[in-house]
């Protein structure tokens, strides 16, 4: 039996109580959402909070709603719920797909989108598509509210700019632009229960003729301390005509946008090579989706 260390546990039923608790406990208090990351880290001795605060019993944090020109996802929404959501499947198939690749079916039934973002593993599955979709997150505390893009929020492996007294409450994604489409691909030794060797999320937005790329996002993960834009790949793409040759060139650029390390999952050379392969493939699929979509 793998034991958990001792900790205190609170289950506030409203946000104000939650904020107060966090304020009091400072960095000794940690939010637990689903627990699939937090409990593993606790069991492995990687974190030692004196207190866990569950926000699962606070209502209103797990809805998926379209509000005007935005889709709002509550931070407590299960990865499984995102994968099962018709709304997400229609609006952002890339996010639906990524959610279906997170962990395993059992993990997805507990893991939350908020947890995946705050735990900020370099290979987190939901982060690349969210970044490619231009998502922002809302952080709230007793002191107020702030909204950040994920790029500003993520710092490094397991590190974000979240303050100890803040709670991630929702993720806001601007509605999909017309003629846009995306794809997320994750490379692993296994097809399930796998942390990516590398992963790529690409979203392309075309003009109404379909002959020019108005906007491109290529997000690489597991090749850096946090998910990153393949900036030179994106620059190569924007304003250009979408062709297989362009995508190949962009894929080569993406390789130079990252310096992956060698670790137990793969060597740096292989990872770089795979960045090229997955960038090329996701761009082709994104183009297909952009043309077939709205």
């Amino acid at each position: 039996m793998l034991l958990l260390p001792e900790f205190e546990y609170y289950e506030p039923t409203d946000m104000d109580t939650a904020y107060s608790l966090l304020d009091q406990l400072k960095s000794d208090g940690k939010i637990i959402a689903g627990g699939t990351d937090v409990l593993v880290n606790l069991k492995e001795g990687k974190i030692h909070p004196g207190c866990l605060i569950s926000i699962a019993r606070i209502s209103g944090l797990s809805a998926i709603e379209k509000k005007g020109t935005e889709v709002v996802i509550g931070s407590q929404t299960l990865a499984a719920a995102i994968a099962e959501s018709e709304l997400i499947r229609v609006e952002f198939p890339i996010l639906s797909h990524a959610a279906s690749k997170l962990g395993s079916p059992l993990i997805r039934n507990r893991a939350t989108i908020g947890g995946n973002i705050v735990t900020a593993r370099p290979a987190a599955d939901l982060i690349p598509p969210l970044m490619a979709l231009g998502a922002t997150i809302e952080l709230r505390s007793k002191g107020g509210t702030r909204t950040l893009h994920l790029e500003e929020f993520l710092v490094g492996p397991g590190q974000t700019t979240i303050n100890p007294n803040e709670i991630l409450t929702k993720i806001v994604i601007p509605e999909a632009k017309p003629f846009s489409g995306g794809d997320y691909m994750k490379l692993g030794h296994r097809k399930s229960l796998e942390i990516a060797i590398i992963a790529v999320a690409s979203v392309l937005t075309l003009d109404e003729t379909g002959k020019t790329i108005k906007d491109a996002k290529v997000i690489l993960s597991a090749v850096a301390p946090k998910a990153i834009h393949a900036v030179s790949a994106e620059n190569e793409l924007i304003g250009a005509e979408p062709t297989p040759e362009l995508f190949e060139a962009a894929a080569v650029r993406a390789m130079s946008d990252c310096s992956p390390i060698s670790d137990i999952r793969g060597g740096s050379e292989y990872r770089k090579e795979m960045v090229k392969v997955l960038t090329g493939k996701t761009l082709l699929n994104a183009l297909d989706a952009a043309r077939g979509g709205k």
Binding site: E6, G35, T36, L39, L106
Partner: protein
């Protein structure tokens, strides 16, 4: 400090006093004497600890008992009806989908849940739905066949 929690397990209500750091696996096994739920890894990688919680199969080793308070839990002990095996159990028994048996409770619960939500799964659906449950003995083929057989039996 212990907290009093209530769990409905296999249709029976329980009240248990637990420390916050006790997992659902521990409470089921040690407090409720339900040994069918196993711990193979403790970190959600093997699925031997699978239970159905509020209608979803989960790794009980990654659920705090306090998080589960108020929830409806189904363990392997709740699958058979008296001494009548569920079609999934029958199929596992008859088709050789059980060898050492340690993964079996988790496999059966996940399979049962799959068939309740998708009565006609393709082979791919089965493999994906059960991808969080590892088996070291069978190579999975007979497990997949057993789930297909169970689906056919339930249908008829």
């Amino acid at each position: 400090m212990k907290k009093l929690i209530s769990l409905n397990v296999n249709g029976t209500d329980y009240e248990v006093a637990v420390l916050p750091n006790r997992t659902l696996t521990q409470v089921l096994r040690e407090e409720l004497d339900l040994m069918g739920t196993k711990e193979g890894c403790g970190i959600g990688d093997c699925g031997a600890c699978t239970v159905i919680m509020d209608g979803r199969p989960v790794n009980s080793c990654l659920v705090l008992a306090v998080q589960a308070s108020g929830s409806k839990i189904e363990t392997i002990e709740g699958v058979a009806q008296g001494n009548k095996l569920h079609p999934v159990q029958e199929a596992f028994v008859n088709l050789g989908a059980i060898q050492c048996g340690f993964c079996t409770p988790g496999m059966i619960l996940t399979a049962k849940h799959l068939l309740e939500s998708n009565p006609h799964p393709t082979e791919r659906d089965i493999r994906e739905a059960m991808s969080g449950n590892l088996c070291r003995c069978t190579g999975y083929q007979k497990i997949v066949e057993a789930v297909q057989e169970a689906a056919a039996q339930i249908k008829s």
